[in-house]
Structure formats: structure tokens, C-alpha cells
């Protein structure tokens, strides 16, 4: 019997539930910190970012309109699918992890994080909303809703856990997202796209771009059909300030770099609060 020659995977973008190459035709070399070739990843462009926003916008009402129970089950399903690829994820974060043990821990935590956020889906409104005792004959309540399309730059490290911690709190409430993965360690993000494609997650809810955030993010920050932007993963303060400034054009909700937030606070960052009044009386 001859030795099996490995069938290598082409690392592609994840947009609208499909796996296109970059429209620009460009790739960039991903290497381990020691300089060993790993793959040629797609180098996302302005056009890819805009296509991703279109996909995210198109599916947003449907995703937000799904029941919280349904969204919770899909997030849980993502954890199930990740578990099946656990070994692959560990291999993919290993080159950048301090040890094999740390790589395992990161993947396990990333899987568990989906479950934690899955459980939030039908509790957010209870915790964040309120019934308001107004001084008059009115029924008045406040409910949280998703803000819309959220652009995000995932932190460089940890490349998988950081990505999950960025996107799970965005989508759990009904937002959709376009996320730029860790630039030099994008392999786990590529695999996560493949997991998402088989998790009953509607195409376009999460769109994953690989490439240079310095190149792609300005197009997302200035995009008039993006409602919010997560800059907490941006490590360059100057770029972050420029992105925040650009995002002010249509008053995007903006999470600044280095913002330490617990899970609920992260979820709340991508919520709007709606207050409804109705008179009481016979």
C-alpha cells in the first residue's frame, strides 16, 4: 500500500454561506512563527468586505426575527460541530500557542464559550429589558433588539478564542457580522467558517474575511450600511482612532480597543433598547 499523500485545503473567505476566493485574486503566505509555510490564505479586499456587508444585511431581518430559542440552539450546534473538529483546531492554533496544552485549552474554551453565549439568547431581554412604572395610565415596557450589521476586527491572539469571543456576543441577539480574522494566524478562522456552514446558521449571519485589517477595516468603518464596529481587537492605537473617527460618519456604535468586558456587557454593546407605550383604559 502506498503512503497517503495529504489533500491540502484551499483557505478561502466565508461570505454569505459560501467559500469564495478573494475577488482581488490575491493570497498571502501564512507561516508559523518559526517561518514554516502553512498555507496561502485569501487576502480580502474592499470588494470582498462590501460583498460581505451585503450578505450580512440581507439575512439580518431573518436572523433577528428567528426566535431566541432557535438562535440559542444554532449557537449550541456550532459548539457541537466544533467539538467534532477539535483535533484540527488544536493543530491550527498550536503554532502560535505557547504549548500544546495551551492550544488544547484555547480550543476547549472556545467551544465552551459558544455554549455559554447560546444560553444567553433567551435571557437577554429578561435581564436588559424592563417594565416601566410610568406616572400615568399607560402600559410601558423596554425591550432590547439587535442593532443590525456589526463589523469586527478579531484580536490577533488568541486567534480562535478571540474570534469566538468577538462574534458570538454579536450574533446571539440577532445581529449579523463581518469579521476580519487574525491576520497572521487565520487558519482556525478558516476552519470555523467551515464549521459555521454546517451548523444550521443561515448564510451571511457570520462572514469571515482574512487579510490585512489595516487595508480592509477602513472600508467597513466608513460603510454607511454598517451599524456598529468592534475595534476591541485592534492593537494599533493610531489605526483604531482613525477607524473610530471614520465610523462616526453614520454614528456607528463603537467598541474601543482594549475594552475589557464581561460576556453580557459584550452582548449589550450590540443592542438597541426600544420602549413601547400604550394607554390603559376600558
Amino acid at each position: 500500500m502506498s503512503e497517503h499523500i495529504e489533500v491540502r485545503r484551499t483557505a478561502k473567505l466565508f461570505i454569505g454561506g459560501a467559500f469564495p476566493r478573494s475577488e482581488s485574486g490575491r493570497t498571502y503566505e501564512v507561516t508559523s512563527p518559526e517561518g514554516k509555510f502553512i498555507a496561502n490564505a485569501a487576502q480580502g479586499s474592499r470588494k470582498d468586505a462590501r460583498d460581505a456587508v451585503t450578505a450580512a444585511r440581507a439575512i439580518q431581518p431573518k436572523w433577528a426575527g428567528a426566535t431566541a430559542y432557535n438562535r440559542g440552539q444554532i449557537l449550541y450546534r456550532i459548539a457541537e460541530m466544533m467539538e467534532g473538529r477539535r483535533a484540527q483546531f488544536i493543530d491550527e492554533v498550536a503554532p502560535w500557542a505557547k504549548s500544546a496544552k495551551k492550544a488544547e485549552a484555547e480550543v476547549d474554551e472556545a467551544i465552551d464559550r459558544w455554549i455559554w453565549f447560546a444560553g444567553w439568547s433567551d435571557k437577554i431581554a429578561m435581564v436588559v429589558g424592563s417594565s416601566n412604572p410610568v406616572a400615568g395610565p399607560f402600559f410601558n415596557f423596554s425591550v432590547p433588539e439587535s442593532t443590525g450589521v456589526v463589523a469586527a476586527i478579531a484580536p490577533g491572539r488568541p486567534s480562535l478564542l478571540g474570534l469566538v469571543d468577538t462574534i458570538a456576543p454579536i450574533i446571539v441577539s440577532g445581529n449579523t457580522t463581518v469579521v476580519i480574522a487574525s491576520q497572521d494566524a487565520p487558519m482556525a478562522a478558516v476552519t470555523l467558517g467551515e464549521v459555521l456552514a454546517t451548523s444550521d446558521l443561515p448564510g451571511g449571519v457570520i462572514n469571515i474575511l482574512t487579510g490585512s485589517y489595516a487595508e480592509i477595516a477602513p472600508w467597513l468603518a466608513s460603510h454607511m450600511d454598517v451599524n456598529a464596529i468592534d475595534l476591541s481587537g485592534v492593537d494599533d492605537k493610531k489605526i483604531a482612532a482613525e477607524l473610530e473617527k471614520a465610523s462616526a460618519e453614520n454614528l456607528k456604535r463603537c467598541l474601543r480597543p482594549g475594552t475589557e468586558l464581561d460576556g453580557l456587557a459584550r452582548i449589550k454593546n450590540w443592542l438597541e433598547l426600544k420602549t413601547v407605550w400604550h394607554p390603559r383604559g376600558f
Binding site: 424592563s130 410601558n140 454614528l251 433598547l273 420602549t275 407605550w277 400604550h278
Partner: protein, 477 residues
């Protein structure tokens, strides 16, 4: 037989204006270098000279607030609460004086300043006073802490109410503030400064700096403020969002709107007519959440318009101090020019204009309640915030079309729904992209009810438990 209303003017003698006002910094009034005149927009009469705070004055105010923050933030919540309760009580005690002064400086009818603005101001302080020693129970996270010094900038449409919405939650949470009232309506804020003195509020906890855009700019860009809270135009909101980029300043913005007020064919028509009138002519339409786009179902459009015109013929426009007045003066010459410009654009773009027949006073700034029909969604009067008594009427056939048209705006502050069908109210309220939905009512406000916008109407909420959040930081778990 005719039922003419006899004049019923509220006396202005309760207001004792000083000839000139300084800035309220560190508990006392201090002079600045430049002053400007503030007037009564209904008569153009000079009311008082007010100080224009320079960058150096703003700096002095921020320093005072920074020093005061040390002890105010460490004070027991229960004690902070007592000061806020005291302020609420003094506002009630001096409510008539505040209402009269508000109408004099703003031009709004005394009926509104007396029955809406000032009672809501007192209620706001009462509500947040009670939070000061209960922050741990607000459900905002573990160990909530104040941010520091808040720079607050408020508009001229509800001068004292906007002050209360800004100052009450900030102080309850343990912050200190530097507040800039609007250029044209500084007087009730200065009277509020006197109330702080009467309440023995520790010096520097509240500082009031009067002035215009430059003063506001100095406040927003001051390096030692931790928070910017702004209510006003989307244009200035955008400037602020850009100005704080790259800093650690927390921001809340409550900006413009172009609310749809949607009337279905099964609505209780007479109530809906009152709601349409209240939605756009309350406070002369100087309301960010005004129902400035009437979306009426096509099958009843003619009936609704006929009744609306009849109702509008009975609106009483004129002296804000008259207790029977429904619509008062436009706040300034500049705002009147803007309303005229947009209305002229409405006509030029092909919409039909109708104004209620009325005699407008000769002096002062006035604009008759006006309706535009044959309005298309691309017309400026259907897209831009007029901030005046001007209603644009559009029609729809299906609920889906109503949602589509209502949401077709970069704004998302408020919306109205008129229908007798419960399930339709709930489906509409969930599909409208706006922060406040009034169903079978309009323009209602309450201290316990969170208020704020979606999209380019800004971010952050004022009112209720959620209104504390912009003034607190919580530990991350």
C-alpha cells in the same frame, strides 16, 4: 353664537430677572469677559445679559468639577440622594417661576412648560435621587462606579427638562458635571444654579457654563472630562463622535429624528387626529421625536386630512404666556429661517402646502402650523428634520409598505402607531426601527421610561434604570 377665548395671560411678575448673569463655577457666579443678550422669542425683548464662557472659563469649571468629584463620588449614596431630593423639592416649590421663565426664554406655551416640562423635571430628580443609594441593584454589573467629570451639552427645545435628564442621573451615579445650556435658552439653567445654592449642593458638583458653539467645543475637547453627553443635532453629534475618537471619553448622543406617525384604517380617528396634532405641533414641533411624517392608510387619507384641517383651524397660536395658547413662538430667528427654507423647498419640489389660517403677532418669530400633501419620500421635507410645526403627509396601502416607508430614514428615534388591533400594534412596534414607539398615543415622557434613538438618532438611553448606565462603569467578570 361665537365662543371666543378672552386673553388669559400668566403674570410674569413671579420671575425676578437680574440684568446680567455670570457663569456658575464652583458654587458661585463668576464674571467672564464677554456677554451676549438673551431674548424672549415671542416679543424679541431683551431679557438679560449672559456670559459667553471662554476656553479658560470652561477649564476653570472642569477643574472645579474634578476637585468636587473627589468627595462627591465618595459620599454615601444615601447622602447624595438627599441632595437630589432637596433639589426636586425646590423645583416643585419654584415650579411656577421656572415654568414662566422657561416660556419667556423659549417661546413655548405656558400650558406646556407648566404642565409638561417642569413636572417632568421634578420627577426626574425624584426618580434618580432614589437610585443614588441603590446602584448595586440596578442590574448593570458588579460594583458600579462613577466615571468622573461629565461634560453635558443640551438643546433649546426643552431647556430645563434636558438639564434634568443630564444632571440627575450623572449626580446620582456619583459624577460631577459641567453643563452648557443652549445659546438661546440659558435662563432656566441659571435659575437652576440658584436652586443648587439653595439646596447647599457641595460647590463644584454642578457647574453651568453659558455660551454658544465655541464654548461647547472647548467642553467636548477638554482633556480632563470622562464623559460627553449631548442632545442636539445629528450634525453636531457627528462632530462630537469624531472629536472623542481615540480618547477614553464615554459618549451618549441623543440626536435628530424624522418620526413616522402611522394611522391605519381601523384607528379611532378622533384620537388619532389629536395624536397627529400633538405629535407635530406640541412645542411648535421643536421636538427631536416629533411625528413629522404622517403615514396614513390610503383608504382613509381624505377623511383624516379633512378632520386634521378642521382641528388645525381651532389651534390657538400666539402669546406663549396666554394659558389658552396651543402653539407658541419659534425659538429663534435662525430656526425660523431654517423652517422657512425647508418649507419653501417643499413647495419647490412639488408638494402642496396648507397652513392653518391664523393671525401671527407682528413682533417675534412665528410660523403657522403647516401641512404638506403630495409628498414623495425623496422630498427634503420627508427626509430632513424641520424642527418646526410642519407636517409631511404620505400614504400607504399595506402594513409592509408602512414599515418600509417608516424605516426609510437614517434616523430612528421614535414612531407612532394608530390602530385598534392589538396584534398589529405589537408586530408594527417590533418591526419599526426606532427607540421609542407610541401606540395610540404620542409624545409621552416619563422619568422611568428609557428614551433614545436607533441609527443616526444617536446612542445611549436617558430615563429609568437604563439611563444610569451611561454614567457608570462596572467591573468586568
Amino acid at each position: 353664537m361665537s365662543f371666543e377665548y378672552a386673553p388669559a395671560p400668566e403674570s410674569t411678575s413671579i420671575v425676578k430677572l437680574k440684568p446680567a448673569y455670570g457663569l456658575f463655577i464652583n458654587g458661585v457666579f463668576v464674571d467672564g469677559e464677554k456677554t451676549f443678550s438673551t431674548i424672549n422669542p415671542a416679543t424679541e425683548a431683551h431679557l438679560a445679559d449672559v456670559t459667553e464662557a471662554s476656553a479658560a472659563d470652561v477649564d476653570r469649571a472642569v477643574r472645579a468639577a474634578r476637585v468636587a468629584f473627589g468627595s462627591w463620588s465618595k459620599m454615601r449614596g444615601a447622602d447624595r440622594a438627599k441632595y437630589l431630593y432637596r433639589i426636586a423639592r425646590i423645583i416643585q416649590e419654584r415650579s411656577r417661576e421656572l415654568a414662566v421663565l422657561e416660556s419667556m426664554n423659549n417661546g413655548k406655551p405656558i400650558r406646556e412648560s407648566r404642565d409638561v416640562d417642569v413636572p417632568l423635571v421634578a420627577a426626574h430628580f425624584f426618580h434618580y435621587a432614589g437610585w443614588a443609594d441603590k446602584l448595586d441593584y440596578a442590574g448593570l454589573g458588579a460594583n458600579p462606579q462613577p466615571l468622573g467629570v461629565a461634560g453635558q451639552i443640551i438643546p433649546w427645545n426643552f431647556p430645563l427638562m434636558m438639564l434634568a435628564w443630564k444632571i440627575a442621573p450623572a449626580l446620582a451615579a456619583g459624577n460631577t458635571v459641567v453643563l452648557k445650556p443652549a445659546e438661546t435658552t440659558p435662563l432656566t439653567a441659571l435659575l437652576f444654579a440658584e436652586i443648587c445654592q439653595q439646596a447647599d449642593l457641595p460647590a463644584g458638583v454642578v457647574n453651568i457654563v453659558t455660551g454658544a458653539g465655541e464654548t461647547g467645543r472647548a467642553l467636548v475637547n477638554h482633556p480632563d472630562i470622562n464623559k460627553v453627553a449631548f442632545t442636539g443635532s445629528t450634525e453636531v453629534g457627528r462632530y462630537i463622535a469624531q472629536a472623542v475618537a481615540g480618547t477614553n471619553k464615554k459618549v451618549t448622543l441623543e440626536l435628530g429624528g424624522k418620526a413616522a406617525n402611522i394611522v391605519f384604517d381601523d384607528a379611532a380617528i378622533d384620537q388619532a387626529i389629536e395624536g397627529i396634532v400633538n405629535g407635530i405641533f406640541f412645542n411648535q414641533g421643536h421636538v427631536c421625536c416629533a411625528g413629522s411624517r404622517l403615514l396614513v392608510q390610503e383608504s382613509i387619507a381624505e377623511t383624516v386630512l379633512g378632520l386634521l384641517y378642521e382641528r388645525m383651524k381651532n389651534l390657538r397660536i400666539g402669546d406663549p404666556m396666554d394659558k389658552n395658547t396651543d402653539v407658541g413662538a419659534i425659538n429663534s430667528a435662525a430656526q425660523l429661517a431654517k423652517i422657512r427654507e425647508l418649507s419653501d423647498a417643499g413647495e419647490a419640489e412639488g408638494a402642496d402646502r396648507w397652513s392653518a389660517p391664523c393671525t401671527l403677532p407682528e413682533k417675534g418669530f412665528w410660523f403657522p402650523p403647516t401641512v404638506f400633501t403630495n409628498v414623495s419620500q425623496v422630498h427634503r421635507i420627508a427626509r430632513e428634520e424641520v424642527f418646526g410645526p410642519v407636517l409631511s403627509v404620505l400614504t400607504f396601502r399595506t402594513p409592509d409598505e408602512a414599515v418600509e416607508k417608516a424605516n426609510n430614514s437614517p434616523y430612528g428615534l421614535s414612531a407612532g402607531i394608530w390602530t385598534e388591533k392589538g396584534s398589529r400594534i405589537l408586530e408594527m412596534s417590533s418591526r419599526l426601527r426606532a427607540g421609542v414607539i407610541w401606540a395610540n398615543t404620542f409624545n409621552k415622557f416619563d422619568a422611568t421610561s428609557p428614551f433614545g434613538g436607533y441609527k443616526e438618532s444617536g446612542y445611549g438611553r436617558e430615563g429609568g434604570r437604563q439611563g444610569l448606565e451611561p454614567y457608570l462603569k462596572v467591573a468586568s467578570k
